[in-house]
Amino acid sequence: MQAGAQAGRVQGSRVQDSRVNLVRALRDAAFTGLVTFGLLLPLIGFETVTNIRDELTLTTRWPLLAAAVVITVAGRFLYAIAVDPWLARRRERPAQPIPAWRYYFKKWFVPFAIGFVIAYPVLVILIVGWGGGLKWIDNFGIQILIYMMLGWGLNIVVGLAGLLDLGYVAFYAVGAYSYALLAKNFGLSFWLLLPLAGILSSFWGVLLGFPVLRLRGDYLAIVTLAFGEIIRMVIINWTALTNGYAGITGIPRPSFFGIPFNADDNGFAAVFGLEFSPLYRVLFLYYIILALGLLTCFVTMRLRRLPVGRAWEALREDQIACRSLGINTTNTKLTAFAMGAMFAGFAGSFFAAREAFISPESFTFIESATVLSIVVLGGMGSQIGVAIAAIVMIGGTEILRQLTFLKQIFGPTFDPTQYRMLLFGLAMVLIMIWRPRGLIATREPSVFLKERKQISVDLVKEGHG
């Protein structure tokens, strides 16, 4: 009897609970709708169009505005009624033991992933054939690997040392222009210039490091941002050296131990008795950037287990404690900047060699932002997280280009790539709701006595420069 009454009460309170939730969700959605309407009325509701007599006329776009508001209201309503309570329940749920498949997944994921990226070009050629492979290996594989490498490089500065660097693209630019200018003017080879570009970039990394050593947090971010712009401005305006906006064309491409990839008699295809195809060069480039990327990852993982890597992480955790233990924080920060910049320099010289054309357009702030968001989305300090984020972000953009069937739905003028930034932002918001500290939100200890325990990122600091 009593138990029944209690169950009834619980039932009743639950009904009441859901009613309260419904009311709250409706109110929430209505408020969001109001804000959206107010915000989008001038942005979407009205449009100025130049008519045939060259006059500016005001037209309205009510259906579009209504659609935008309805989508936002519906989204907010769904979030408030379903996602939010679900998240709350998830937070209350006690921690569960890790299922066995996760363990095996973790154990085999990395070897499988490395095997996959090595076999990737072969798989692509097997699936889409010799002709269609170019696009998938070049636009997809190489592009993603470049950003993965940049992400891993920036991860040293931002993820490990906790120094927020918004001007990372500057080092990428230094690497690219170093290769382009030295290869074109002095005819030096790619393999000689690759390390040289890395050294020059890390030199600039140290140069940036010195003035910003005293700065912390937001101030550091602003100065690095400015540094990125300064490098770009110098490239644009020093036309005698860099040819300004026009960029540098005809940059020598890397050769296969001295054998160029062209259709000549002494070209790669002819020497090896193959039919000429541009794919050989792309395959060669793919494996170069793969090797460079894996080198970056390997060196970074190695550095984490060395005193310098531990000092970077300690710096992120507490600078004052570092100093009390005799760690020279100045040098430690400089090495982080130099290391990160060096890998960007490698990637930059590869980029110049691959494109054979570079211009300041390729080194705008948006590149820095992309690489930084790869690091942040991946989970700061996590190598695998950065790799996954690079695949999703860069691969996702490239996939958008392939969605030509959408033209049949939305009309021939529809260009899915224009929605890139929108999706970018959406992905960012979702990740920040779902996993505020990135995809991989655990830190792997660099050394252990008995067992390697994952450290929840909640304990790990983000660093303040």
Binding site: V299, R302, L303, L306, P307, V308, R310, A311, E313, A314, R316, E317, D318, I320, A321, C322, R323, S324, L325, G326, I327, N328, T329, T335, R443, P445, S446, V447, F448, L449, K450, E451, R452, K453, I455, S456, V457, L459, V460, K461
Partner: protein, 302 residues
């Protein structure tokens, strides 16, 4: 105060001004070799400022802070060293450093003065073991050939890392932290965090260990354990200890020598028994009856 023949630290005429505020005024004292010295005083007396001057976090406005190790004869070159403008000197029979001239990390690295903080400063997201390895940074850095040899995997670094792990294990054992070695430092209970901070400082092989309120927030049993631990450290490892503490059970039980500060001025200096009965100290801590105010003010020199 009895002059120690060869103290480990000699503080002379230390003055620290922040703008118009004199935080420490003409303070002189010594920390005896192998002794535990305590720096006490009411809140805001300037104790932590003295610590920050000794460990190089502040550059004193005036004064000389000389740290010595090795043969007592080395003390004789103090004035020459001061005149030479150098930061310190190392001879085969000992070393002498002028701490007021050194930046913080060099005080820890070269002069081997380790410290802990009033508000615990651990590397919370790193494991207990990693905390202890970071403390051995400089030696490991050298062994890894400033990273170059380490990246290439030279065996000399592996040996150095093993030695570092052994040392870490020793201190974990000493401080009863072995069980928690692989846990993140931020997850330890408060008392264990305090112990870990001392263990981390000990991993730097200090000559002088400066502890800023090591017993703050510990329960009586924990602070009794801490007492024993500090005494053992002093006896077994040739370390001198300078500590700031409010917990009188710690101060009175283990200190060989107490310096009392009030408003940046030294008001007493001596053995625990003498300091405990010193009228100025009692006045500074407890105040005085109304009728005695004039008398005490006169004796203090106000």
């Amino acid at each position: 105060m009895a002059q120690d023949a060869s103290p480990v630290l000699r503080v002379e005429h230390l003055t620290m001004r922040f703008g118009g505020l004199v935080a420490v005024d003409n303070l002189s004292f010594e920390v005896g070799r192998g002794a535990i010295a305590a720096l006490i005083g009411p809140n805001g007396a300037g104790k932590t400022t003295v610590f920050n001057c000794i460990t190089g976090f502040y550059r004193p406005t005036e004064g000389r802070l000389a740290l010595h190790r090795g043969d007592p004869a080395v003390w004789s070159v103090l004035d020459d060293l001061t005149a030479s403008g150098k930061r310190g000197m190392v001879r085969s029979d000992g070393a002498l450093f002028l701490l007021e001239r050194m930046p913080d990390y060099q005080v820890a690295q070269r002069a081997r003065v380790a410290r802990t903080f009033q508000n615990i400063r651990l590397f919370a997201g790193m494991t207990v073991l990693e905390n202890l390895l970071v403390a051995q940074h400089n030696r490991l850095m050298l062994a890894s050939g400033y990273t170059l040899l380490g990246v290439l995997g030279f065996p000399s670094y592996a040996a150095a890392e093993r030695a570092a792990l052994d040392k870490a294990r020793f201190w974990l054992d000493r401080f009863a932290l072995t069980e928690r070695a692989d846990d993140p430092a931020g997850e330890l209970p408060y008392g264990a965090q305090r112990r870990l901070e001392v263990a981390r400082a000990m991993c730097t092989d200090p000559v002088l260990l400066c502890l800023d309120e090591p017993a703050a927030g510990l329960n009586p049993r924990e602070s009794a354990e801490l007492n024993e631990l500090l005494l053992r450290i002093r006896d077994d490892h040739a370390v001198s200890i300078l500590l700031i503490e409010h917990d009188m059970s710690v101060v009175m039980n283990i200190s060989d020598h107490i310096v009392v500060l009030d408003y940046g001025v030294k008001i007493a200096d001596g053995a625990p028994e003498a300091v405990r009965n010193d009228a100025k100290v009692i006045a500074a801590y407890l105040g005085v009856p109304d009728e005695d105010v004039a008398k005490v003010e006169e004796s203090v020199g106000l």
